[in-house]
């Protein structure tokens, strides 16, 4: 049941406990206490809005950086990865298989800001071997949401 609740919240975090209760055949109190439990257990980490930066006229520059790092005895990649992930410029950070180790998503206000982050902060960290920075040019889909929404075709209002 928690899985189903989480899926519904993942789709739309704003759905009311009243609606969730009716969908899942639970009481409103049950839904509220389950959500509270999921939040306390850090299963639900945060709630956010997905925004079309262009339409919102946000001046943001996004980049994806492939980072090679040296693993350490005992901790492997964890200590260094954690250190990199803590920078506020970093929006996502993943350990990867393949030709590099970390895939780091960063965001800044200007190209220069992102470039400075890479050259002055990221690549100077002890243990970072190399970086390859790719700037994003256009967003087509963000966290499962198409940026250019399909135009809903005119549905018949009543049909057999």
């Amino acid at each position: 049941m928690d899985q189903q609740l989480l899926k519904l919240l993942e789709e739309n975090a704003l759905v009311s406990p009243e609606t969730l209760a009716k969908q899942l055949n639970l009481s409103v109190d049950q839904v509220k206490s389950r959500i509270k439990h999921l939040e306390e257990a850090k299963i639900i980490l945060a709630y956010k809005a997905i925004i079309d930066d262009d339409k919102a006229e946000f001046q943001t520059v996004k980049a994806v950086i492939e980072v090679r790092i040296t693993p350490e005895r005992g901790g492997g990649f964890n200590r260094l990865s954690d250190r990199i992930a803590r920078y506020p410029e970093v929006t996502s950070c993943f350990l990867m298989s393949g030709g590099y180790d970390l895939l780091v998503f960063v965001e800044g206000r200007t190209l220069k800001e992102v470039a400075m982050f890479v050259s002055e902060k990221l690549s100077t960290i002890q243990g970072v071997l190399s970086t390859a920075t790719h700037f994003t040019l256009k967003t087509y889909k963000e966290q499962g949401v198409m940026i250019d929404q399909e135009i809903a075709e005119e549905r018949l209002k009543v049909s057999p």
Partner: protein, 393 residues
């Protein structure tokens, strides 16, 4: 002069076509269309767009220049997929190449099935409330429609006694549609066995319209064609519109013993030639790779059904827990209004469209059909407005 010409033009229309009444839905549709900001629970098709990989298969077919006719019966690869799908999910064995016909939706399949088997005056039985096309389709082939009313308190199931009571020497065909549009009713294996027995006793052919069969939320769906002795007296109709959200592709199919498919094919080849090749290509993709999309949509429908049903209970509108399709058929006669008055006033006062139950046969009076093939945001608004409306009565 023009009056006279109009009279003459009307004379051209065949008598039996002229006698077919206007659809109750059509009538209501025109009122709804004239209004703005309507939240509609009146729509009998999925609100989901066709899953992308299926649309992509259609695009690919176009790119590859697949733009011609197909075999009258449909693409062999599609028929093989259909035969496999029906075997796996409905447990009935049909020969892919001689016992499967791909049609332009179940609507066409139903029409050619009736045309293939009905002699003038033959009686065709069907349970009601039911899909709006059965009665006129029977009339168009000069058959005699025989309606078997089912009851809300019995969850709109067809019972053998009710069936027997309507059987005469002229009865030839029984049309079944479970899960049912508009009630969401379902029949389990035991209940269908009782019907199958009557069909065998009275030598009836069954045309079973299983278009909503994937959308069953309770017990596993059972097809009457899978019951002992029934395969030889069944035409199994199914399609892609509801389960795979492909209404606009217009593709469905019939499975039946070879003699019946052969008879249907004789009509189909002259009337339709074949179903559109692009839709057939998309249908192959749906059957081969569409299972998980279908399951996800079903899950959404089930959540919405729960939401709508619980909301009706909260408002105080009695409604049985329909286990199939994407409709609820709540009872509204306790409001003192009939189904048309209820629907028209709800539309005018709160701008919510539901379909009056009597559009689906006289036995639907006292109910309205509410489709939950619409997004949760719309359902939430609809429920709030219905609540306001009911409290205002």
């Amino acid at each position: 002069m023009s009056v006279k010409r109009n009279a003459v033009v009307t004379d051209f229309v065949a008598n039996h076509v002229r006698s077919i009444p206007r659809s109750g839905i059509r009538d209501f549709f025109e009122i709804v269309q004239s209004m703005t900001d309507v939240v509609s629970l009146g729509i009998g098709e999925p609100d989901f767009a066709t899953p992308w990989h299926i649309r992509e298969a259609a695009i690919y077919a176009l790119e590859k220049g697949k733009t011609g006719y197909t075999s009258n019966l449909g693409l062999p690869r599609l028929r093989k997929s259909i035969a496999r799908y029906v075997r796996q999910n409905y447990h009935v064995e049909y020969d892919a190449l001689s016992e499967v016909l791909v049609a332009v939706g179940v609507s066409e399949a139903m029409d050619i099935a009736l045309r293939a088997v009905i002699n003038p005056g033959d009686e065709v039985l069907y349970h009601s409330p039911c899909y709006v096309s059965y009665n006129p389709s029977i009339l168009l082939v000069h058959g005699k429609p025989v309606e078997i009313p089912t009851l809300a308190e019995d969850h709109f199931k067809l019972r053998p006694e009710a069936l027997k009571a309507k059987i005469t020497a002229k009865s030839k065909v029984l049309i079944l549609n479970f899960p049912t549009n508009p009630t969401g009713a379902v029949m389990n294996q035991q209940e269908l066995l009782a019907i199958a027995e009557v069909c065998q006793q009275h030598d009836l052919l069954v045309i079973t319209d299983e278009i909503y069969s994937e959308l069953s939320y309770g017990e596993t769906h059972c097809s009457i064609a899978s019951l002992p002795g029934m395969r030889e007296r069944c035409i199994f109709l199914h399609g892609f519109s509801k389960a795979f959200a492909m209404t606009g592709f217009r593709v469905g199919y019939a499975c039946a013993p070879v003699a019946l498919i052969e008879a249907m094919m004789r009509i189909h080849q002259y009337a339709m030639l074949c179903a559109p090749i692009i839709s057939q290509e998309a249908a192959i993709e749906a059957l081969e790779n569409g299972q998980s999309d279908m399951e996800q949509m079903r899950e959404q429908y089930q959540l919405r059904r729960n939401f709508l049903l619980n909301s009706f209970r909260e408002i105080g509108i009695p409604c049985f827990n329909a286990q199939g399709a994407f409709y609820l058929f709540p009872r509204i006669d306790q409001t003192g209004l009939n189904s048309r008055e209820f629907a028209v006033r709800l539309l005018e006062e709160q701008k919510v469209a539901v379909v009056p139950g009597n559009a689906f046969g006289a036995s639907g009076e006292g109910h309205v059909r509410c489709s939950y093939a619409t997004g949760m945001d719309q359902l939430e608004v609809a429920v709030e407005r219905i609540g306001k409306f009911v409290r205002s009565l």
